[in-house]
Amino acid sequence: MQSAFGNPRIKREPRTKAQNGIRSPVLQVCCAAIAVATVFLLIHSRNQAGSKSDQNEKTVASIPSYPRSSDLLQLPAIAAVAQIPEWQRRLSELSIEPDSDVLGEIAATVPDDQIRETLDILSGGNFGGAGLELGRLLIQRWVKNGMNEPATWAEGVPDGEFGRMACREIATAWAQSDLANAAAWARQLPDGGNKSAAQLSLSFEAALRGHVAGAISLAANVPPGANRDEAMDFSVRQWAITDPNAATSWAEQLPNTPLHDEILADIATDLAVRDPFRAAQLLASASIKEDLSDKAALTIVRFWTSSAPERAADWVAQFPESELRGDAMKNMIDVWARNDFAGAGEWLMHQPDGPARSAAIATYESAHINN
């Protein structure tokens, strides 16, 4: 297939050491110009190379005749003055959608002592998803040599997608070795999206390590929204692993919002795996929106039936005649009959007539056929 990028490439002179470091103001201006042009071109090269599956991406035919990256390099005013970094050249020459293999190869062209300035260029420009991925790979390399430099650098990165990615990466990496200092660093970041990203990442990391109070505190400092709710929910669920009563009591104190109900329903569902009796107790005592409560109840019924069907049956028998009772009986019989057909039948025989029992009998008969 003939590529739209098939122009012969210009053979470039090897870079000198001075050219590698863009310290000179003149070079900085030139590089900035090239960076802007490259970004412009990169956006269009991505459009051209988009997968057929990506219906939103433009086709080759619909692209106006913009100068291509190799055309740009032929501009004498720029080419004569400076060489753009290898990573930037290769990024601009990508003729296919970026992926981790290609970006890994590009990241490998950046020497260790140029990671910081490369990240500066990436964070200052709009390199799209490829820039983010490249930045992520470079940060992952950088933090292996210590957290101080990357952390200090991240403090000055402007708020935005790149900054959030950078702060998440640094926070996550730091949490592996020193959660306390990572949290202290996140707290003193300038207010904004970058700080929130770091705190949310650390909240998850802290919760995974059992530092629940810290996790909740970190999440609570983030402005309200779905991300914060998710972090709060996860933190309290992690707490419930070791102390479900305390976690439940804490959650019940939350304002009467969807988050309150979701956390309690999630604790009950999580608990159902390990201790369905306790999960049932929790559900009975908690005030949760009906649809979430019913969903959790059915999960408890199924899980409980798999280990102790008689006890699950005792619980279900307490449900008043309702749609939930019918669904619970169907779920219970579905599991029970497949494990102990006779036992399930015996229990059903002794249940009072009603819509729930009828529905359960139909499930029972279906289980017989499937057996």
Binding site: F5, K52, S100, G129, E133, V273, S306, S307
Partner: protein, 528 residues
């Protein structure tokens, strides 16, 4: 035979041959019987201990499903996806082996959580990797759990739809279009993981077309993941060596290819398509090559040339890459056990490499980033076999491939009674206690306790019967693997002949002896 009967026989035979085996993919019921029987002794035990120590194998692991998973580029969040898949698989294994239903419930909590929440998988081109790797891994977890009574039918249907709607379109797109890149732009692992994912979805969803799409691609596909292209160069010798497509790139990705060949071949094998042996055991040759080099040996290398980008810019590698030499992935006991233990094919380098890694762990034990989760692991636990004993001790029904009927003593309890076949009934007449001891198997019918016995017969067409336990060679049997996946030959030690239906597919037909051949009349499946 009348035309109508012939047609009916043909239809039945086709239906039987096309039905998927469940549980299948990486592990069949017979595999689980073997694990259950052995997990408290080494080498299984060491791997089991690693499984139960893994944080993702606990009922306290809390999944974090989201609606959209992004791998690569803006908003990347797939780091919260792959640990949950490992958790679902590892919990499933714990349940299936130990019988503790709390792990089954944990696994289906994860499967349900994701299948109801996640509707989209996206990102940069890495989304295709995600579709392949996570598609096959998640489908394997689900395949184990499909046998659990606690997983509601509606939830299983939801999971099928989830695989079909979120993963399969990306897999199909990639294997068909390769993201509009040059056909050899993407390394072999990209194709291989998508072949694995597509086959797994085909099996889980009982979708023969998708399964065949994956199988045909692996045999003859145009991209770098088809078998000949993923192993482009073969070096004759002892052992035969095969140069993998990524050997000039680095050993880390070459090791990923090894683990993916294992998955691809085992999934097909368990459904009756032996890709392990395809093209003269080509996969083994590549494993031997990798294992030899990564253990410090020298191997030949042929210049590898490929086109990259959209314009197929030519590139070449002239030497093997030593980058990440010594790569370790928990994927070697599946290879060693299949070739050397099950089939008796010499695999000296793979055997040594497997021994150096054993006992294998799993998700997160070999790196906490995504690479540490690119394979499910634990193949020491799931694939180890006793030499010569492909079937674990246990009670099985034994089903013939052609007739679809089960070995049955018809309730007879007398020495010398013939053994027959009958349609599946659940009767004890069809249940056989299979025991491996002293290098051979005995098969005792639950009804009466008599052992399957050659009765001293040694001719083709002679009858097979039962007799009380005597220690005679007439009662000793070899169960031999075949190229038909989960079907085995049952060979008498005294006369060397195979248990065979004699081509009679009717209920009550007496079983016979025949010399080993290619007929399905002498292929048997052990159904726990």
């Amino acid at each position: 035979m009348s035309p109508v009967l012939l047609l009916l026989t043909s239809i039945t035979s086709t239906a039987l041959s096309q039905a998927f085996i469940h549980p299948g993919m990486l592990h069949t019921d017979a595999d689980f019987m073997r694990m259950q029987a052995n997990y408290q002794v080494d080498p299984w035990l060491g791997s089991w201990n690693r499984l139960i120590a893994n944080p993702r194998s606990q009922t306290t692991w809390n999944p974090r499903p989201v609606g959209q998973v992004i791998r690569g580029g803006t908003g990347e969040n797939y780091g919260q996806f792959f640990p949950d898949i490992a958790a679902a698989y590892q919990s499933a294994l714990r349940w299936k082996i130990s019988g503790d239903t709390s792990y089954a419930n944990q696994s289906i909590r994860i499967l349900n959580g994701w299948s109801y929440a996640m509707t989209n998988l996206t990102g940069d081109a890495d989304r295709f990797l995600a579709a392949g790797i996570y598609g096959y891994e998640f489908a394997n977890a689900a395949e184990i759990m499909r046998t659990y009574s606690g997983w509601a039918a509606a939830d299983q249907t939801q999971f099928k739809n989830y695989l079909l709607n979120v993963f399969y379109p990306l897999q199909h797109n990639f294997l068909t279009n390769h993201n509009d890149a040059c056909i050899d732009n993407y390394w072999a692992n990209w194709d291989l993981c998508n072949v694995a994912g597509m086959a797994a979805i085909g099996i889980f969803c009982d979708d023969r077309a998708k399964y065949n799409e994956a199988l045909n691609y692996f045999k003859t596909g145009a991209g770098e993941g088809s078998i000949n292209r993923s192993i482009p160069f073969i070096y004759a010798g002892t052992p035969t060596l095969g140069q993998g497509e990524e050997e000039g790139r680095d050993q880390g990705h070459s090791g990923l290819d090894v683990s993916l060949w294992g998955v691809v071949c085992q999934q097909f094998y368990n459904e009756g398509d032996d890709m392990w042996s395809y093209n003269n055991n080509r996969v083994l040759a590549a494993c031997e090559y990798f294992a030899k080099y990564n253990a410090g040996g020298t191997v030949p290398f042929t210049t590898f040339t490929w086109g990259s980008g959209q314009n197929c810019a030519q590139n070449s590698q002239t030497v093997i890459s030593s980058a990440s030499r010594g790569d370790i992935r928990p994927s070697w006991d599946i290879i060693y056990n299949h070739y050397q233990v099950l089939k008796g094919i010499s695999a000296p380098n793979s055997a040594a490499y497997a021994a150096s890694i054993r006992p294998e762990g799993g998700g997160g034990d070999y790196g906490t980033t995504s690479g540490g989760f690119d394979q499910l692991g634990y193949t020491t636990l799931t694939c180890s076999m006793t030499p010569g004993a492909p079937i674990g001790n246990g009670t099985y029904r034994i089903r013939n491939q052609v007739s679809g009927r089960y070995l049955d003593n018809l309730g007879y309890n007398t020495n010398g009674a013939p053994v027959s076949q009958w349609d599946g009934s659940g009767s004890n007449n069809q249940k056989w206690v299979v025991t491996f001891s002293g290098g051979y198997y005995t098969l005792a019918c639950v009804t009466g306790g008599k052992l399957l016995d050659s009765l001293g017969h040694s001719g083709n067409g002679s009858t097979v019967g039962e007799w009380q336990s005597s220690g005679s060679n007439n009662q000793k049997w070899t169960i031999a693997s075949t190229s038909s996946g989960s079907y085995f030959k049952i060979i008498n030690h005294a006369n060397g002949l195979c248990l065979d239906t004699g081509g009679n597919n009717a209920d009550g037909a007496t079983m016979q002896f025949w010399g080993s051949g290619s007929s399905g009349n002498q292929l048997w499946q052990f159904v726990p």
